[in-house]
């Protein structure tokens, strides 16, 4: 006869995970399911008349060339933000890693921008680049560049990319610096003795060894550029001129909260939700496995 051991059931584990479960339910599952339900409706703003339309809101989106444009624009924007902020961060971290005197001051100053709220960061750049009053546009005029991001699409895009990347440099810097400092000094010293210069050492030793951090940061930066840049766009361009900086997350806000098209806006946020889930899966399934530590 098979012997079974019965442990008395304890409620303690359930009790311990309960806060987390409740928080997830209240702050994620519930609003997310509301958004999914809303995306199937066409409704007036006050919720007085509601029509259940299945997937018509999605169909309208995918047939709208403006939405597809915004999609491509978002990809482009995210790529540029990630590349610029990670590129800057890796250079700064490479130098900071070698600094011996005053390292703390240097590092603290580099981390500062991270503490600035996105809207304030945006406002800062708006002031500097105001076509009429801005200090930088004044200097640019000296070089014969007529700066007007209210009108010039590529200047507007360039400005929001710069503002968004500037804010993320600090975060990337922290991770890169930590990664570089965890590389055993002996490896680098051995290469130095063999006659490898700083650049050679960086490309053949440091860069490959910090690749897990790079891949991690790519995902984090992409998510940042997709979602957290809302405040910057709102403060700098509000999606203009001619929709040239209207990225997906801004469009969700604009259609939903300005245009009061709740169904269409909800459909867009459902698509964004699917995207972020997909990115997380990619991060855990492929990137983390394939990268050699």
């Amino acid at each position: 006869m098979l012997k079974r051991v019965h442990f008395p059931t304890s409620y303690l584990p359930y009790l311990l995970v309960a806060p987390q479960i409740i928080i997830t339910l209240v702050f994620f599952i519930w609003p997310a399911s509301q958004a999914m339900y809303q995306s199937l409706l066409i409704e007036d703003a006050f919720g007085l008349s509601t029509e259940f339309v299945w997937f018509e809101n999605f169909q309208v989106l995918f047939e709208d060339p403006k939405y597809l444009e915004s999609f491509i624009r978002t990809m482009w924007f995210s790529g540029a933000v990630a590349l610029l902020s990670m590129g800057m961060a890796i250079i700064l971290a490479g130098f900071a890693d070698r600094v011996i005197r005053g390292a703390m001051v240097y590092r603290t100053l580099l981390i500062w921008p991270y503490a600035v709220a996105p809207v304030l960061a945006g406002a800062l750049w708006v002031f500097m680049f105001n076509p009429t009053l801005g200090i930088i546009s004044y200097f640019l005029e000296g070089f014969g560049i007529d700066w007007n991001h209210y009108l010039n699409k590529s200047q507007a895009m360039g400005l929001v990319i710069m503002a968004a990347a500037w804010k993320q440099v600090a975060y990337n810097f922290l991770f890169y610096l930590a990664a570089m400092q965890s590389i055993p000094k002996s490896v680098i010293e051995a290469a130095a003795i063999d006659g490898a210069g700083p650049l050679k050492r960086f490309w053949t030793i440091v860069f490959p060894l910090i690749s897990p951090t790079t891949f991690f940061l790519i995902v984090i930066n992409a998510v940042y550029a997709f979602f957290d840049t809302f405040g910057i766009i709102h403060a700098v361009t509000q999606g203009g001129p001619a929709g040239s900086t209207n990225i997906l997350v801004y469009k969700v806000y604009n259609d939903g909260f300005v245009g009061l098209d709740l169904g269409g806006s909800a459909a867009q946020s459902v698509i964004l939700m699917i995207l972020v889930i997909a990115m997380t899966v990619v991060q855990f399934r492929f990137v983390e496995r394939k990268v050699e530590y």
């Binding site: 066409i42 409704e43 007036d44 703003a45 006050f46 919720g47 007085l48 008349s49 029509e51 105001n130 076509p131 009429t132 009053l133 007007n148 209210y150 009108l151 010039n152 699409k153 509000q238 203009g240 001129p241 001619a242 929709g243 604009n254 259609d255 909260f257 300005v258 245009g259 009061l260 098209d261």
Partner: protein
Amino acid sequence: MKHTIIGTVVTGMVAAFATSAIAATEIQWWHAMGGANGERVDKIAADFNASQSDYKIVPVNKGNYTETMTAAIAAFRAHEQPAIVQVFEVGTATMMGAKGAIYPVDKLMSDMGEPFDKSDYLPAVISYYQMPDGQLLSMPFNSSTPVLWYNADALAAAGADVPKSWDDVKSASEKLLANGMKCGFSFGWQSWVMVENYSAWHNISMGTKENGFAGFDTELTFNNDAVEGRLQAIADMQKDGLFKYGGRRGDSLPLFTSGECGMWMNSSAYYGSIKKQAEFKFGQTMLPLDTGVASAPQNSIIGGATLWVLAGKSEAEYKGTAKFLNYLSSPEVQAWWHQETGYVPITTAAYELSKSQGFYDSNPGTDTAIAQLSLNTPTPASRGIRFGNFVQIRDIINEEMEALWAGDKTAKEAMDASVERGNALLRKFERSVK
């Protein structure tokens, strides 16, 4: 120590109960007036509260126009709506469509037995918010209209007259440039100024069904020769540096106040800001006329906001609301508000009062907006516009006009695209309010 804290809390609670027991009926008023105008709103509420003891108006600033409207709608869905909310003019159709959510001001006043005579109000202001049968839906509060602001010093130095027509604007701009200025003119709120008001000023319809007043099954028609011709001419002037685009809403104000552009078309309510910022003599005059399109101007239309009364509040609150709305439109309050802000007075009496106080004599040009609005009896094409989803449609017009200024599209392409994209939104709105 603990006892003292508990003691304080209990005393505080008792005090709170005591005051609420004898307190007047509180009436929430959500508004979008920030800064100096916010303080003026607070003053109006405080003065009303001091004038009687039964009701207490509580003004709450909910951010800009869009945010205020969205907040009120969200609050309504959660059954926490304020009694009074300030909604900008482009939200009119959305509010109207929500029949169960609003309490028409006309009906409120007669239900509550408050004296209310619509003929006291300026027709150009009130007609924007009336139903085809004359019922008034919301109470006009802050209304303005676009005017032509000019740098009087710069025009005099360049030997140019204050422009009356678009040809004058062009020649004045040329003179300004010849005299060393960087740009002739600019404007803000471009859909409102250059499409909506341009159409009304020349008595051209912007859409079918009396610009949407006669039904939600309206279609946009502003892709006509007059609008396209004017916008194309401006785009051509831009190439010569006569016109400079400076962004949406009031973003282009620094172009004018810094002395870069000599003329600027935007709301009369910028009076306060310009007065504060401009270090030159400035003036305001009527919008220029396109002499090839019309021989005389019709009238301009308003922008700004009105106060909507929301459904689902108590009888006592409605009683107080009606009393407050009456107080708000009294000549003294209106004249004060008008003179302080540059918004137009909403009643004829307030206008007459300002006149007799000598305000227009000591501040020449400040009656331009009223003169423009009451130039002629409004026609179906110049009464105003009432399109659903118009916040988004304005965004589309902004986008397409920016494409025009950037040289990506011609005026015809931009306006055709605006109309096509706008009509799609009108159909969507028509469906949502069924």
